[in-house]
Amino acid sequence: MADNILEVRNLKKYFRTQSGMLHAVDDLSFTIERGKTLGIVGESGCGKSTTGRCILRLIEPTSGEVIFDGVDINKLSNREMRKKRKDMQIIFQDPFSSLNPRKSVSQTIAEPIIANGLIRERDQVDRRVKELMDVVGLAERLINAYPHELDGGRRQRIGIARALAMDPKFIVCDEPVSALDVSIQAQILNLLKQLQRDLGLTYIFITHDLSVVNYFSDDIAVMYLGEMVEKAPAKELFENPLHPYTKALLSAIPIPDLREKRPRILLKGEITSPINPPDQCRFYKRCLETCAGCEGCAPKLREVNSGHFVACHRAK
């Protein structure tokens, strides 16, 4: 059996709104192998980030289990959870709001070390901070700089250094590059990849950018309105997408070749509301491949090929 660092079972997060229950994350189940990367893609508001935060218990899930290294973290007390957080970290999307503007670079990076009492001597902490800055490629002269003096790429490196400060095993990268310039994106992605190789990290990589996720992930999960509609190894997903939504998504990737013509799949119709959704395929209203059976009950995620899961009545 594979060595799974994380197993998510029937994870649900509903938000109470004025017009009903908003199903942000609905019945998600998946596993991640140690040292691998799971990419989660989907459009805005499909519950990608909520999923990432539920896994880290930054928001309390409505129900479901998140089994990290054999322990269901939702059953831990607050004190036990704080200890567990050493192993699981997050890198945020917006490097401008993810750093406390009143704290210098060294204060930000040192905080997890000091707060958890990992290193007690002040000069040892300083040495560790410098080491981390070196690992993420920040010049030592920036040690007393404040976030507002730095550009997005450098700020994101601080965020990465903070996440690495406690030697985590697992990191949720919540759109870590989507707020950055394209040239900086590549630098940060390469840094993350190198860190994975050097430190044996496991990533969940949340993004809406398919070319990024293809470059980065071993497995890719596609989310639509809180549900996982397809999950497959990256190569398989790109070559043989089965869910109509995945196909539409892939057809939207721009290709750097003017002569090549490729049919775009343009989705029409209204998006199903995630508030009190009907027991029906959530993609039904926009799907181009509906059949008689689709109007009925919602399709379950099932394994079609080895490692290739899809939630569609028609997929074979």
């Binding site: 935060r53 880290l56 930054l58 704080r82 200890k83 957080r85 050493k86 699981m88 970290q89 997050i90 945020f92 999307q93 917006d94 709001s97 993810s98 750093l99 406390n100 503007p101 009143r102 210098s104 060294s106 204060q107 040192a110 905080e111 997890p112 000091i114 707060a115 958890n116 002040r122 902490v125 300083d126 901070v129 030592e140 002269r141 040690i143 007393n144 965020g159 903070r162 996440a163 400060a165 406690m166």
Partner: protein
Amino acid sequence: MKTVVATEKVRKKRTRFGEVMHRLSKNKGAMAGLAIIAILVLIAVFADVLFDYENQVIAMNISDRLQGPSWEHPFGTDEKGRDMFIRILYGSRYSLAIGAVAVLIALAAGMVLGAVAGYYGGAIEEIIMRVTDIFASVPYMLMAIVVISVLGSSTLNLMIAVGVTSIPAFVRITRASVLTVRNQEYLEAAKAIGRTNKAIILFHILPNCLSPIIVQVTLRIASAIISASGLSFLGLGVPKPSPEWGSLLSAGRGFIRDSGYLTLFPGLVIMITVMAFNLLGDGLRDALDPKLKERKGG
């Protein structure tokens, strides 16, 4: 939590405090206010060195009673022959101490309640804010009188009474500015590295909410001084013969027809002090808000 690292390569730069002081120094009104406050604070601190409380401040000297302003007695003398100038200067002690302590009480209580309400939200917030509304709806003078009647009249109780009436303002302003940082991702990051809620509020939220609170402190000291003087005027404050400004006003009231200076000078000093705090508060508000940097006064 400070991690100051000594490095040779650290660039020289203005600290945040230096930056604020720099901007403040361009505001003439605020600098005047600051100067007046500084002088008053110095007088208050060294009052016992400058004046002999027993002989100059409270000792009667009937032969000199009710003399108008002169070189010998710049603010004249009261009905017991005491020099008003010395009494007023000595009185700065009471007014400033009452203002400062009252605001400290309000700040401590208001900041905790406001931060808790803003951070946790939900039912806790509702309860705190509705109770705050109830307190704020009672006129502050009335409330202070009630508090003093319950606790009894003394300097400490006066401070408590004036402090309690200022709590709602601090609860509201703290909550409002906590809400502006509530959804910043660095709070989630702090949670992710295993920080407790208490540490998140103390180290991440409050340092980013201080500007409006600092402004509020200076403005509230001014109104606390007025409240305290008002209560003393009504005989609910500092017991006689201590020369609190409100009691000086009250004592001079009986002689207002023939010796108007007995009410004029304490009143003027109260006014100038309050104005100094207000000027400083206004200046700080502009200096602490970088967005208002270019605004012209007027």
